[in-house]
């Protein structure tokens, strides 16, 4: 089955720099693979079988991430960058998918780093989609997909084309080593410019930053454990939690 994997399209929230005046800067921050990107790759492999996997990404980071994990070739929109408003990135990625009309399945990480990106790609592509996916395999109907919904696991059959947003259960096992990455850099890489794909620029703009007014936690010094626990229990009783 013809599958694409979309990877490294979001910023890691840990990398955001909060300046003294409360503004946030992403200067110098490269787009990163999320915890869920390796799961997307695994699912793409399970679906593709012996077919080639196409990898799609944006940004100026190392594009060999998916190739090192088995993708045959990579399409990269190098001059695009993740934005706070995701519709443009979604449109760019959808335009990349359309360049390979044989594709039947697109898999991407279902990462809470930016859930908007997942929704934006689904909408811009206009394909049916499932999120929270933990496994998928080819089936007579198209695909058999397992996904996690709260504390429940659902098994579904779905027709293709379809977008699957993959949720990882744990850290990636056996990530590729330096040798695989160096080999992967020799695989075909098609570099595109955002202007070639022509999605309209987002009209949304950041107009300010502020600190949230949620009260901060009441911290109790635990140097005297007895006193700290008495203070905590009194507070919990006052809250009705005990």
């Amino acid at each position: 089955m013809k599958a694409a994997v979309v990877f490294k399209c979001t910023r890691n929230p840990v990398d955001a720099k909060v300046k003294l005046d409360g503004t946030v800067s992403w200067e110098g921050v490269k787009l990163a693979a999320t915890d869920d990107d390796p799961a997307a790759m695994q699912i793409a492999k399970a679906i593709a079988g012996s077919d080639e996997i196409i990898a799609i990404s944006i940004g100026d980071g190392d594009p060999a991430w998916a190739a090192a994990r088995g993708a045959a070739r990579t399409i990269l929109v190098a001059d695009a960058y993740a934005e706070a408003e995701a519709s443009r990135t979604g449109a760019l990625l959808a335009a990349c998918v359309r360049r390979a009309p044989e594709l039947e399945v697109v898999v991407l990480g279902d990462s809470s780093w930016d859930f908007a990106l997942v929704s934006a790609l689904i909408g811009q592509l206009g394909w049916p989609a499932l999120a929270g996916v933990t496994a998928a395999e080819p089936a007579p109907e198209g695909l058999k997909v397992t996904r996690k919904v709260g504390n429940i696991r659902q098994v579904l059959t779905v027709a293709v084309p379809v977008v699957l947003a993959a949720a990882a259960g744990e850290e990636e096992k056996n990530p590729p080593g330096m040798r695989d990455i160096l080999q992967a850099r020799k695989k075909p890489l098609e570099k595109l410019k955002a202007a070639d794909l022509d999605p309209a620029l987002s009209a949304a703009e950041t107009v300010g930053f502020r600190y949230p007014d949620t009260p901060s936690a009441r911290l109790i010094d635990g140097k005297d454990p007895q006193a700290a626990c008495v203070e905590l229990l009194a507070a919990l009783r006052a809250d009705g939690a005990l």
């Binding site: 929704s119 689904i122 909408g123 989609a129 504390n151 947003a165 949304a204 949230p212 939690a241």
Partner: protein, 285 residues
């Protein structure tokens, strides 16, 4: 979410995709109108995505809000594209200013709110607090039956309920700060004194095997909503905290004053859990 939508003024319509019971629970809230796609039992809500998107064009809302549930995000994506709306996640509030919608979203791990001005329609994934908005009168409900789709649910598997975690009113979560399996006995004594269930972080199960898979709480495991969650020796990784975000009160015990969890709890004791846990048991007794 309803209260946030109200901030923009105008009618607030609930789009519900699921069984009749879901629409009934929405009727208890103060929506102006409810459109209910009554989905057959063996279909996922996502089968309505294209239809809801087409309806969104007709309704032409200024904003579409969805929770971060997997189905809601898929449907939101289709509606956003249909409306050519801006799409933003981690949204805490909406306001209107100078003809634009101001979408406030949490950024930098929730340390800061970013205000984004959107000239047209906004589609947002809501991540703020849920407030009760009970209905004075039951909103008119339009029901649209959905009996077929390109997806089908063939099996539903409930989570293993070994630790009684999912229903426990009080839960003590232990993390790598536990140090060794032997130290679990002190946690078990506290759990008995508090009538609490015991949960853990993923590495406590996967890497250390101190507790079982059904004890793990977090994005990839159980989601719990106890009245009280005490996190001992847990750093507060997003993957763990997303499993306890519905806890009413969270207490953290950590010996690192800079631990991330102190930014996401109600009470924190900065101290050694090996001293605090037995002291808590004693104080309760």
């Amino acid at each position: 979410m309803l209260t946030t939508a109200r901030a923009l003024g105008g009618e607030v319509v609930a789009c519900v995709a699921g069984p009749a019971s879901l629409a009934e629970s929405m009727q208890a809230l103060s929506f102006d109108r409810i459109i209910h796609w009554q989905v057959a039992e063996d279909l996922p809500a996502e089968v309505c995505a294209a239809e809801i998107a087409a309806r969104a064009i007709r309704e032409a809302p200024q904003a579409v809000l969805a929770s971060d549930a997997a189905s809601a995000r898929v449907i939101l994506g289709q509606a956003a594209a249909a409306l050519k709306a801006a799409i933003v996640a981690s949204v805490r509030s909406l306001a209107r200013k100078d003809g634009r919608i101001i979408v406030s979203r949490a950024t930098a791990e929730g340390k800061v709110l970013e205000d984004i001005a959107v000239p047209g329609a906004a589609a947002v994934i809501y991540d703020g607090d849920d407030m009760d908005a009970p209905a004075a009168v039951t909103a008119a409900t339009e029901t649209i039956p959905v009996t077929s789709g390109q997806m089908k649910v063939v099996e539903t598997l409930a989570a293993a309920e070994g630790a009684g975690l999912l229903t426990a009113l009080r839960v003590i979560g232990v993390g790598m700060g536990l140090g060794s399996k032997e130290n679990l006995s002190a946690v078990e004594e506290l759990a008995t004194a508090l009538n609490a269930a015991i949960a853990c972080t993923l590495p406590v199960c996967n890497d250390m095997r101190w507790l079982a898979d059904h004890n793990v709480v977090g994005s990839s495991h159980s989601q719990i909503a106890p009245d009280l969650y005490i996190a001992a020796g847990i750093s507060g990784a997003p993957n763990h905290l997303s499993g306890v975000r519905d806890a009413k009160i969270t207490v953290a015990v950590n010996n690192d004053p800079e631990a991330r969890i102190f930014k996401f709890c109600d009470y924190g004791i900065v101290g050694d859990m090996h001293e605090i846990v037995p002291a808590l048991t004693a104080a309760l007794q």
